[in-house]
Amino acid sequence: MSRQDLRNLYQDVLVDHSHERHGYGLLEDPTAESHGINRSCGDEITLHIRAGDGVIESVGWTGHGCAISQASASMLSDIVAGLTRDECTRCLDRFRSMLQSRGKDDGDEELLGDAVALSGVSLYPPRINCAMLAWTALEDGLTRIDA
């Protein structure tokens, strides 16, 4: 992949998610709450996780940010519902290594679903934190659930 076209960064599915924002809104009885902030721009996210019997039932979030951070949070909430904490951690590790790959890793669609559309971010290092915002909040929240 190369930086030839800005659409490699802002793929259509990313722009879709940035508008649709799946999972937007906080949960009524969360098991864990976490908060993330991107210090370089002030973008913020509050993320709720509801978990039971070792499984993530759902994720809800609020906040504001760029198209990349909003799409990333939206994709995350699609992916992690129904996963165990260990499966979540695997997704997270895979997602992070995709973003740090400098264009060498297109991501694992089976594991990451629509979030492979964020693979283009790896060619824009200043934007990696935008894509990671929701995921680092998830990582923090996972430390506070029993599983």
Binding site: V15, S18, C41, G42, D43, C66, I68, R127
Partner: protein, 420 residues
């Protein structure tokens, strides 16, 4: 005579760059300007021919370095309508503002003796700033208030970002000891009413500190005529090198202030238990100084004066109007600050409806256009205007009409790209 932009551009090597297969359109000069060859050459010549420690040593190079360093100070003094003793070199405007705040803080602890009494602060005293300040002209005063027990009070802005002069009249009063404000807002491009604010402060004997970072590159500055007590400016925003700034202070004030940074080169005599200090400016220039940077900054003001600050200002105002008029005509764009036709420098902050400023900046970068995104170190102003962030385009003497047109064309295509 209007500026010959092509001739000017030929003297800025960085402007020959291409970015993402487009010629660079550099519209981030308010963050840091590009530098002409004469500035780079002045620094290089110093380092290759005259490099030595200033104000010490009897050898030829040391004498030459001292001569160049001090003549650069004289050059800046002439540019600002000040005396050389009133020009203190600093690492930048942030360092200059912290120098003031820490000197006042030291005076508040009794340092500086009787002459420094007028800088002493305590409970009941008030420091006044505005809601549109850059963090560099806010946080040093917050910290000074916290250290001394003084109170920090802001003058608010209205929904359009205009300074509330009705509020200024209320806030500035008998308890006001320091009034610190920006000459030109780094987000809005608006020029604040210096004379009216100074008149209010004078009525109560408050010290006036002017942040001239965003005015010095654009306007002809006469600090004596502006009648401020202190002013700070940043070299790298006015075609000069990084790592150099100026603190201007009225001589009788600087000579009465206790030092902030202490050490070599700022003393008259040193005993084991105490020391006597030189008068200004040496009192505030402890340790090794940014000599090549000062010489580079003097070359930058030579460059500006050769163009003529009146011509620079005229061109800058024209570019400011081109930005605001062009942006206002684009559907879904909201320009911050003064409306078209109202005075502003060559700087425009704006919001693209439905698109975050980082995405705006990314889209423009793809076209080789460099703008600033985020809160521009003015978080309280953004909060007051109900914004998390904005995008800012800012010009300099090398900005062309074609660049402004390319920028406006790019901005016009953003909302469709993001389906906003």
């Amino acid at each position: 005579m209007p500026l010959d932009i092509d001739r000017i551009r030929a003297q800025f090597p960085a402007l020959r760059r291409r970015v993402n297969d487009h010629p660079l359109v550099y519209l981030d000069s308010a963050a840091t300007s590009q530098k002409p060859s004469v500035v780079l050459d002045a620094e290089r010549t110093f380092l290759e021919q005259h490099n030595a420690a200033v104000h010490r040593g009897a050898h030829t190079l040391a004498a030459e370095a001292t001569e160049l360093f001090e003549s650069s100070r004289e050059r800046l003094a002439r540019f600002l309508g000040a005396a050389p003793e009133e020009i203190v070199w600093t690492a930048g405007a942030t360092a200059a503002l912290n120098l003031l705040a820490y000197s006042f803080s030291n005076a508040s602890r009794g340092r500086g003796g009787e002459p420094a009494e007028r800088f002493r602060l305590g409970p009941g005293d008030e420091l006044v700033v505005t809601e549109l300040e850059h963090h560099a002209n806010l946080i040093p005063w917050q910290e000074l208030a916290a250290r001394t027990g003084a109170t920090l009070r802001p003058i608010g802005v209205d929904d359009a970002g205009r300074l509330r002069m009705d509020e200024a009249v209320e806030v500035i009063g008998e308890h006001t000891r320091v009034l610190a404000f920006a000459h030109v807002s780094n987000v809005l491009g608006a020029i604040n009413p210096v004379a009216e604010l100074v008149a209010l402060a004078r009525r109560f004997g408050a010290l006036v500190v002017l942040d001239a970072c965003q005015s010095a590159p654009h306007l002809s500055l006469d600090l004596k005529a502006l009648d401020v007590d202190f002013a700070v400016l940043s070299g790298h925003k006015m075609l000069g090198p990084l790592g150099i700034g100026v603190l201007y202070g009225r001589r009788e004030l600087l000579d009465a202030m206790p030092p902030f940074l202490t050490g070599g080169s700022m003393i008259t005599s040193v005993m084991m238990e105490r020391a006597e200090y030189l008068p200004s400016p040496a009192r505030f220039e402890a340790g090794t100084q940014p000599v090549s940077q000062a010489i580079g900054l003097a070359a930058a003001v030579d460059f500006l004066d050769e163009l003529g600050m009146e011509q620079v200002h005229e061109r800058d105002a024209e570019l400011g109007q081109a930005l605001v008029t062009g942006l206002t005509a684009i559907p879904g764009i909201r320009v911050l600050g003064p409306a078209p036709g109202e005075p502003r420098v060559g700087l425009a902050g704006f919001i693209v409806d439905g698109v975050h400023s980082h995405d705006v900046g990314q889209f423009l970068d793809e076209l080789g256009i460099a703008v600033r995104v985020g809160h521009h170190c003015a978080e309280p102003l953004h909060r007051r205007l109900g914004l998390a962030a904005s995008t800012r385009a800012s010009t300099s003497v090398y900005t062309t009409d074609a660049e402004v047109a390319a920028f406006l064309d790019g901005v016009g295509r953003i909302r469709a790209f993001f389906r906003a």
